[in-house]
């Protein structure tokens, strides 16, 4: 399982990168490997509000469709539309394949550090 020290992680397997007042969100390497090869991704649009703990996107593998949950609340100000045509990028480089950029963040989950997330996954309680 690949991790990035500079990122924060949610228990629902999203990574968060904070950049000033904004944040970008993607799926962790662990999540993509559990889901298997992704064949479709559904993303919100710029200007959409996303709410902490609620689904803001979904990904489809040959096995199943899975929700992607927002680890924070805010307004979508950027969407990685490249993923729509190339969902395999999430499998190939999960930490480059960001989903959305969010501004006006109003609330945020207690996120985990790389070490904490690793311990969480290895404990098998996810």
């Amino acid at each position: 399982m690949e991790l990035r020290e500079e990122l924060l992680y949610s228990k629902s397997h999203e990574w968060v990168k904070e950049e000033g007042d904004e944040a970008i969100i993607g799926l962790t390497d662990y999540a993509q490997s559990e889901l298997g090869d992704l064949v479709f991704v559904n993303l919100p649009e710029e200007g959409d509000e996303i709410s902490m703990g609620e689904s803001f996107a979904d990904v489809e593998s040959v096995k199943a469709v899975s929700d992607v949950y927002a680890p924070l609340s805010g307004t979508v100000c950027g969407v990685n539309e490249e993923l729509l045509d190339a969902p395999e990028k999430i499998n190939e480089a999960p930490y480059e394949a960001w989903f959305v950029r969010v501004k006006d963040i109003t609330e945020k989950e207690e996120l985990l550090s790389a070490g904490e997330y690793q311990a969480f996954v290895e404990s098998g309680n996810e």
Binding site: D37, V39, F40, E60, V62, K63, A64, V65, P87, E88
Partner: protein, 476 residues
């Protein structure tokens, strides 16, 4: 090879009878610019083409087919004999009622039998399959609330173990979906259900026994909670084969149900079926049913319910499938119906108990007509997944169970043997399952490479999903 790739230009056959009506040619301006691409084969080539295709197929006539939640039971051939009777086939849907009284009798008798089995008042045969039935049932619920001026109900509650069609149908019917988690025991979490119940809830959709093969012991409490908040209860009949003739959805508190004649009632399933998803309901919803119902009187006649939601499909649904299902019921008789579900449950429990020293059973205990195994531990230990075991089964001439469903079980294999398999078949299949487990522990690579004895080997499912080829391109 496609039929277009066989044969040769100018070749033909005489299977199609000569035209016995006057030929009328269209105006030149209405004619096609170029000739249609039609296959040009001799009769022997045509025959061999379809025989080749048939040899590459696998169905219940070939062997064991434990596809969980699909009830792939054997289809008795007497069903086909009855459905082929010219009185059922040589008719037209617009014929006057008095000339097709036998067909109306089939529909009415089938409705009466199925209502007795399910505890419903009326039933429509229009819906063409399960999900179509779900959609129809939800429209009935919507029409019911609307007729009472109750417009605030926008939500349908669905447990997370449900078939994916449930939330899809709810959204198609204009509702939003509230998913409630299953408890540790695999059944509906009553506390979570109480929290979700409210005056904005239009109804609940539930499969009982559920998709992990368990009969929800709290079913009366569940339907009571929904009724107390003003909602309606929808029964997904996918798993009726476990309880048919034993307990009735109507008595569990359900208001509206769908059946899958192609599952529980032994009509062809898959390969074009066609399916049939009759929807039954209690008295208070009957006035909203689709247009075509049969009424007994001096003669049988078609009637339209007072506040019908309208047509869900053309005419009478897949009528010849109803003929087959009625044949099945008349063959079984009153005593045979509960024997079916009894044996279905016995077969599932037999397999589960024989396999549990080797495979992990997701919810241990007594199961209903199907059970779910989790291959999560095997995958961690050996790298062999549920998918790999499924592919290994193909190499042994067995259709795999349902895979990766329900979603609440990791690396799931969902096994439904059905009542139509003998103990010898079950023992053979149990031995194959155990052999594959040992192979996984010894040589994971062998299963990663499976299947090797099938007409096509492992398919590129990812490639097919990402770059589907949806039409044939003619070279000329």
């Amino acid at each position: 090879m496609l039929v277009f790739e066989r044969g040769r230009e100018g070749r033909g056959l005489s299977l199609i009878p000569a035209c016995d009506v006057e030929l009328v040619m269209p105006e030149k301006s209405d004619k096609r610019k170029r000739a249609l691409h039609l296959p040009e084969l001799s009769e022997s080539e045509l025959c061999r083409h379809y025989t080749d295709l048939a040899k590459e197929c696998y169905g219940v006539n070939d062997g064991f087919y434990p596809l969980g939640s699909c009830t792939m039971k054997y289809n008795p051939k007497i069903n086909e004999d009855m459905a082929a009777l010219p009185e059922f086939t040589e008719i037209h849907p617009l014929q006057p009622e008095h000339t097709v009284q036998g067909c109306l009798e089939v529909m009415k008798t089938a409705e009466e039998y199925l209502c007795e089995i399910t505890g419903m008042k009326r039933m429509t045969f229009q819906p063409a399959a399960g999900a179509h039935g779900e959609f129809t049932g939800l429209l009935l619920i919507k029409a019911y609330h609307d007729s009472r001026g109750d417009k605030k109900r926008t939500k349908i509650i669905i447990p997370d173990s449900a078939h994916g069609t449930n939330p899809a149908s709810a959204v198609m019917a204009g509702y939003s979906v509230v998913s409630i988690p299953s408890g540790e025991d695999g059944c509906v979490d009553l506390e979570k259900l109480r929290e979700a119940a409210g005056d904005d809830v239009a109804g609940l959709m539930l499969t009982n026994p559920n998709t992990v093969g368990l009969f929800d012991k709290n079913i009366l409490e569940i339907t009571k909670i929904i009724h107390e908040c003003g909602g309606q209860c929808y029964y997904d009949g996918a798993n009726l084969n476990a309880v048919m003739g034993m307990v009735r959805p109507g008595d569990m508190g359900f208001d509206v149900i769908h059946l899958n004649l192609h599952k529980t009632f032994s009509t062809p399933h898959g390969g074009g079926g066609p399916g049939s998803g009759p929807v039954g309901c209690k008295e208070h919803l009957a006035e909203f049913l689709p247009s075509i119902l049969v009424e007994r009187g001096e003669k049988l006649s078609f009637v339209k319910p007072r506040n019908s939601i309208g047509e869900i499909k053309s005419f009478y649904g897949n009528f010849l499938i109803v003929v087959r299902a009625l044949t099945y019921l008349m063959t079984l008789g009153r005593e045979g119906v509960p024997q079916v579900s009894g044996n279905a449950v016995l077969n599932a429990n037999y397999m589960m108990h024989k396999l549990k020293d080797c495979y992990t059973i997701a919810y241990d205990g007594v199961c209903m007509h199907e059970f779910v195994m989790s291959l999560s531990d095997l995958k961690k230990k050996s790298g062999v997944s549920a998918m790999d075991i499924a592919k290994g089964l193909l190499d042994n001439g067995i259709h795999p169970p349902t895979m990766y469903f329900p979603l609440i079980v990791d690396e799931a294999l969902m096994v439904e043997p059905t009542e139509t398999e003998s103990k010898e078949t079950l023992d053979e299949v149990i031995a194959v399952f155990k052999k594959l487990y040992k192979t996984a522990e010894r040589d994971a690579g062998e299963l990663h490479a499976a299947p090797v004895h099938t007409p096509v080997t492992r398919l590129d499912e990812v490639g097919a999903a990402r770059h589907p080829v949806l039409k044939y391109e003619f070279s000329k």
